[in-house]
Amino acid sequence: MSLSAVILSPELLEARFRPLEEVLPASEAPMEAERCYYCHDAPCVTACPTDIDIPGFIRAIAVGQPARAAERILQANPLGGSCARVCPVETLCEQSCVRQGEEGGPVRIGRLQRLSMAQASPDLFPAATAEVRAQKIAVVGAGPAGLAGAHLLAREGFAVDLFEAQARAGGLNESGIAAYKMLDDAAQHEVAHLLTGDRIQLRCGMALGRDIALAQLRSDYDAVFLALGLQGQHRLQIPGEDLAGVLPAVPFIARMRRGEPVPVGQKVVVIGGGMTAIDIAVQIRLLGAEEVHLCYRRGPEAMGASAREQQLARDQGVLIHHFRRPLRIEGEGGDCVAIWLQPTVLQDECCVDQGQPLRWAVDQVFTAIGQRFNPEVWGEDGASLQLDAHGKIAVDADFRTSLPGVWAGGDCVGRSDDLTVHAVADAKRAVLSMLGDLRHET
């Protein structure tokens, strides 16, 4: 049985994805902004990995100047626009809002930021330094970390060559994040803003290990910033994983967002418990899957997806099953027809099997159990980098790798969670460190 092929058309996007957008009507903004207590030493700022002056930008909204709010946000976080769309604020700034336990709950910081960033334009970024430095820097990977890094370096007067393996910049914002969070080509608008000016040369279709070599970059440039992201998909390591109809979520979402036809099953199981699991479960449902089950081997608290994300999935009719471990996938003529799941229970904080395995008839299975760094892809370049215990690029606190003159940040290093906001924070830190080191060199 072959699955129906669906294209994420503009019509489908409007009809089914648009309603999931979480936007604050402009008319409600002043009232919401006035709920902010304008705290001293505000805990929301501490909670933000990029230290956005949240009370400061909210006050600008309250006094009727949302563009100044955007300016304030961009001072701390050049990707404030996509962060406003994809940040799990309920576990970051909003969770730490002093109004958390108060009536009305925390200030809706994420939505206020989103509203401010609708005003974004290249003019609102802090002015670049007038000084033009002779040093050239190579940034590899035009995802959030690479874009932030390139932008910040250019602002500091460096000439930057930004290499991207894909045809378009944006990284996961362009290809991995749920389409309903990045409507209206939001990722490309942001990229255009970030790369405004003549100090950054974006070179797409240039893959490390294929078109460019790390050793060459090191000799051609004064410094290299690796923001490679993660290419490998973790595997379930169970029988049947290679059957047709069993797919890793991230490449599927990328194809869907590029507008390519993607297969959509009728009865779908998603394995995983993070944001990507939610993203694929919700989107496959929006694309027309009749039944979508999300299976996670542990309980709801252990899930990487926040309670709000889980609720969003439920609201779209996704059935979430906790304590189900995939055993094997059954095939017929090369297609997957069923998945076997082992119920588990929590015992002394460990998941142990309990009860009889269940057989669910399915025609599509998605794996969303994380991505991994894949150094083999870069051949000798990959081999030359020292990796950490999790197989990602090892860096020090200032994001220096084991190779002199090479920094790395974003998902390809493991110093923080794999959120856009952390990628930006990594890049900020790395750029500061590069600035310091390069000054010493001259």
């Binding site: 006035e34 207590y37 001293h40 030493d41 002093v98 108060e102």
Partner: protein, 440 residues
């Protein structure tokens, strides 16, 4: 049994102490009819002038200041007195009074300083069956340029003269409405009393420019590119009005002069505050203009609820009760010591009190490192109350009076013996304690 709200103000009876002030809501019979149906105790009819009637601008008349949630905090107007002929007004007043005999109908007038005008028109006002006359000596815009309104109210001798003129030509009670656009409100009140006024009402509106249109670079409301100063009212003016009411209520020469309180009354609490400071009733305008006449239900219900909670059965139980406690600064007890106290269980850690005290006061608040909450250092706290003002949580910070012991800030023992400035050793004018400081 519900508390009795009925009042008798200079002989004018009304079922409750809420009158609509002389203003747009009382401009014509159709409005007053609706107001009385809604339950208002009385009206002061929009100020009558002699014919030909004044002409109002045809552009915007009102300006405003909106606070949080777009709620109007301050309201300003450049409207003049009634722009309808005096006869049509008098006809409507007579109809209304006949229809609503139990409600107070007071007629506001603004006439020039010509005795013949007063002699002609006051008897005709009286003939409508109206209960009293209010002299508009306060309107600060437009009419004042013609020598009337606040132009009269700002000159005590004119206040006295006009009051005398009015009293000479009517047997009705005369209430003199005072302008706040003066250095001392009591001067006008004393003059009104000297002229024979039965009561004063205050405050009229405050001269103001409520805002500036920064695109047209002109005051708001803007009429064809220009604006003029207008009369300010609404919640923002209440503190000014309360002080002026209290100044009259506690003035020795004005004892017993009835006061009708006006200025930002919009709730039962405002009402109770005006009355506690000596007003026998209140007049309302802005609140009705913002919410409609139905707000009378909230005012009446709110006042009755509060009175029941307090055990008051009639208005006299609390009218003027706060007046004896309104004092000059020099009489305040300098031996009374309070300290701010933060309830750690209610503190949400926003740090507003900390930064306010640290930057602008006495550096008396510190952060508790492990809890992220704040606490007061009594040895630095001067008891100023700023932290209470900025705290967003209700009942989190309070001021506690020290009953005994030593003030850790000054090292001075707390004493139950009061001492005010007139007795303080730092006051060069204070009488010297016997046997000290002489002849050194």
């Amino acid at each position: 049994m519900k508390p009795d709200l009925s009042t008798e103000f200079v002989g004018i009876r009304s079922p409750n102490p809420f009158w609509l002030a002389s203003a747009p809501p009382t401009d014509r019979a159709v409005n007053v009819q609706r107001a009385f149906k809604a339950g208002w105790g009385g009206v002061v009819w929009k100020t009558l002038g002699i014919d030909p009637p004044v002409v109002n601008v045809n552009g915007p008349r009102y300006g405003f200041w909106q606070g949080d949630n777009r709620r109007v905090q301050g309201f300003s107007n450049i409207e003049l007195i009634s722009d309808r002929s005096i006869l049509s007004n008098l006809r409507e007043i007579a109809e209304i009074k006949a229809q609503w005999p139990d409600r107070a109908v007071v007629v506001s007038v603004m006439f020039p300083l010509e005795e013949s005008v007063w002699a002609e028109w006051l008897p005709r006002v009286e003939a409508t069956g109206a209960d009293g006359i209010e002299l508009n000596l306060g309107c600060p815009h437009g009419m004042s340029e013609r020598g009337m309104g606040s132009a009269m109210g700002q000159a005590p001798e004119l206040v006295e003269m006009v009051t005398r003129l009015a009293k000479a030509h009517t047997g009705l009670p005369v209430i003199v409405k005072l302008t706040p656009n003066v250095t001392d409100i009591t001067w006008g009140a004393v003059a009104a009393q000297a002229g024979g006024a039965d009561a004063v009402s205050l405050i009229n509106t405050i001269n103001s420019i409520v805002s500036v249109d920064l695109e047209r670079m002109a005051p708001m409301p803007t009429v064809d590119g220009k604006g003029t100063h207008g009369g300010y009212c609404g919640p923002a003016v209440k503190p000014i009005a309360l002080n002026m009411v209290a100044e009259i209520a506690r003035h020795p020469a004005l004892a017993g002069l009835p006061i009708s309180g006006i200025g930002g009354v919009g709730t039962w609490r405002d009402t109770a505050e005006f009355m506690a400071l000596g007003a026998s009733n209140v007049q309302v305008c802005t609140a009705a203009m913002l919410y409609g006449f139905r707000i009378i239900e909230d005012l009446v219900g709110g006042l009755q609820t509060w009175m029941t909670e307090q055990g008051h059965t009639r208005l006299e139980d609390f009218i003027g009760r706060a007046v004896p406690n309104v004092s000059d600064w020099s009489q305040l007890n300098l031996n009374f010591v309070t300290k701010a106290k933060i309830d750690v269980d209610r503190c949400i850690g926003c740090g507003r009190c900390y930064i306010a005290c640290e930057d602008t006061s006495h550096q008396a608040i510190g952060r508790v490192a492990d809890s992220g909450r704040y606490q007061v250092r009594a040895e630095d706290c001067v008891g100023c109350n700023l932290c209470v003002a900025v705290c967003p949580v209700s009942d989190c910070i309070s001021m506690a009076a020290m009953a005994g012991g030593v003030d850790p800030r000054t090292g001075v023992s707390i004493t139950a013996q009061p001492m005010n400035w007139t007795q303080h050793p730092n006051n060069p004018m204070a009488p010297c304690p016997s046997g000290e400081g002489q002849g050194d």
